[in-house]
């Protein structure tokens, strides 16, 4: 099999392997189950966000407001529950947060799909609207006394174990949420007409319209779906960290977009894969958590991510440019 270096998935996978090899060489303890569970646990929130962001990129847009949606849905759900129904089971809590997220996604959807406003600017605007509304009218205090069911959820472990040195490691069931999101998104993208429409709209709005795809409805769905995913990610984040912090999450959007574009999704729309996205997430999580293991000080974290973005998106762009020049 010929390795196609132009594909981001291959490139990112190779970088991850190299990173792990380097890390293992400098610290043999790196290759262990606790490291793996730590990385998986740290990848849950970033992963759910990235799947949503990838979908938006495939549809030809870009969304930076999802972190604000997540914070809004998570914090509003928590405060509402604490006041009115602290005893609800966690699936209901999650559903409420997702519905809230989807409603905020509707706002993005209307502005983008119906009024055709540029996606980056709209979502920059709604980012500050959602965040400003949350902090002004809902509250700006951290809540550590979460509803008991959210705490119970965070204690549900898929498995747990003890190291040789006596420390514990575990993987929470929250990880299953990421798996479900990935499977569901894969199904929508590759097994439904809706998924084909999303690719088609991202490839060319005009062509999609001419073959009879309902562009407005498709775009609207994308932003609502991303909103719901953000609501889910937000409430899981609050449960796992056992803290509802309204200042949390916002600021993560650049890492998410970095992960997605590293995975090969194109900003011009019409192309993006779940495998690539998950590999991109893995690389970003590795860099954010384990840079120190390969001997790079953590102050170099943002330089490293910046370089990865430039190399990961620059290489395919440069190849495309050369190819275009050759054929011209």
């Amino acid at each position: 099999m010929k390795l196609n270096l132009a594909r981001n998935e291959v490139l990112v996978a190779l970088v991850i392997l190299a990173f792990c090899a380097l890390a293992a060489a400098s610290d043999p303890r790196f290759l262990s189950i606790p490291t793996l569970t730590d990385l998986l646990r740290n990848g849950i929130i970033l992963g759910i966000f990235s799947v949503g962001a990838m979908l938006v990129l495939v549809s030809g847009g870009i969304d930076v407001s999802f972190t604000a949606i997540a914070a809004f849905a998570m914090y509003t759900t928590t405060t509402f529950l604490l006041e009115h129904a602290p005893g609800l089971p966690w699936p209901v809590i999650f559903a409420i947060s997702m519905v809230l997220g989807a409603l905020l996604g509707c706002i993005n959807g209307v502005l983008i799909a119906v009024f055709r406003l540029p996606t980056l600017i709209v979502t920059l605007g709604t980012l500050s609207v959602f965040r400003g509304f949350l902090l002004t009218f809902v509250g700006s205090n951290m809540i550590s006394a979460l509803p008991p069911e959210m705490r119970n959820f965070s204690r549900l472990m898929m498995f747990r174990g003890t190291n040789a040195d006596g420390s514990f490691f575990s993987l929470p069931w929250a990880f299953a949420a990421l798996v479900i999101v990935v499977v569901l998104t894969w199904f929508i993208l590759h097994r439904t007409m809706l998924g084909r429409s999303i690719f088609a709209v991202g490839g060319s709005v005009e062509s999609a319209r001419r073959i009879g795809i309902k562009v407005t409805r498709t775009q609207f769905f994308v932003y609502v779906y991303v909103g719901a995913l953000a609501g889910l990610a937000g409430i899981i984040h609050a449960s796992l960290s056992r803290l509802a912090n309204p200042f949390d999450l916002v600021g993560l959007e650049l890492s998410v977009i970095a992960a997605v574009v590293l995975g090969g999704a194109r900003l011009t729309g019409g192309y993006g894969t779940l495998t690539g996205t998950l590999l991109g997430v893995a690389l970003i999580v590795l860099v954010q958590n384990s840079l120190i293991v390969i001997g790079v000080p953590s102050t170099f974290q943002s330089i490293t991510i910046g370089i990865l973005i430039l190399v990961g998106t620059g290489l395919p762009a440069w190849q495309a440019k050369r190819q275009a020049a050759r054929s011209a």
Partner: protein
Amino acid sequence: MNTLLSRLKTPEGRLAVIAVLVFVLMASLSPERFLSAANLTSMAFQFPEFAILALAVTVTMLTGGIDLSVVGVSNMSAVVAALILANVAGPELAGSGAVMWLLLSMVVAIAIGAAAGLFNGALVAFIGMPPILATLGSGLIFTGIAVAITGGSAVMGFPTAAAWLGNGKVFSVPVPLILFAVLALAVAFIVRRTAFGLKLVMFGANPLAARFAAVDVNRLLLKVYMLSGALAAISGLLVMSRANSAKADYGSSYLLLSILIAVLGGVNPYGGYGKVVGVVLAVLSMQFLSSGLNMLQVSNFARELIWGVLLIFVMLVNSQQVAALFARRRMS
């Protein structure tokens, strides 16, 4: 009268109305405080730093690109200038020596800003990267460099002369305001009155047509991003002088704000249309709004909310969809 009416139909015309309305509203809500000389001068000290960033974003937006690295560039240049001022010149230095070092550090900062812009321009022009990604990545790198050389802490201890740039007055006009006025006029001149400006707008309106019209596109992009980087560095110097320190994460909210101002000012994010007058009017409306809200003791968070609402509102008003809606209603 007719020309006045037709002017109101342009984005700049509408914006002028908004700016005046906001000013009148704020002035009538708390006249003795909003219209006080102290408030007016403090506004003149506050807005130039992000207004200059907005100019930087504007020039890249005219080409249909965007510069998300402006805050990174501005902090990186400011940190280097601050290191020169604090470590080489030292806080005790006074007189002409201090002025010389101040000028030198400014030149170095602007040169670094331009070099950073050159890097962005090269990514966009030669590698063919989308400007959003190129400047997203490079912005992280520039911020990262600022973190790495300072270890993440603030650089302080400048000669007193350094405070003049951000806090001084010339004939009772604040220096930052003069600086902004000069830069705004310069950018307006470049865009409206030079061949470079014409090519810039042409490229933004239709890149392919510009290429076929024998515009040296790569050179153009390099220059545009260099201009943006240099402007960002000047804004960084202002922040440094006003805060009397420099740090890798100063002004992180300015990125959103500067894009917001550019779009509010009627600059088309797809390129090809934009006027500096619009940007200046947008800056003024934002500053009137935020200082008025400040006097009414509205929290910073509510200000963020109102900025976002304002941005979306203006986009809706300027969008063709809404214009078409009204046109249809009038016909029927």
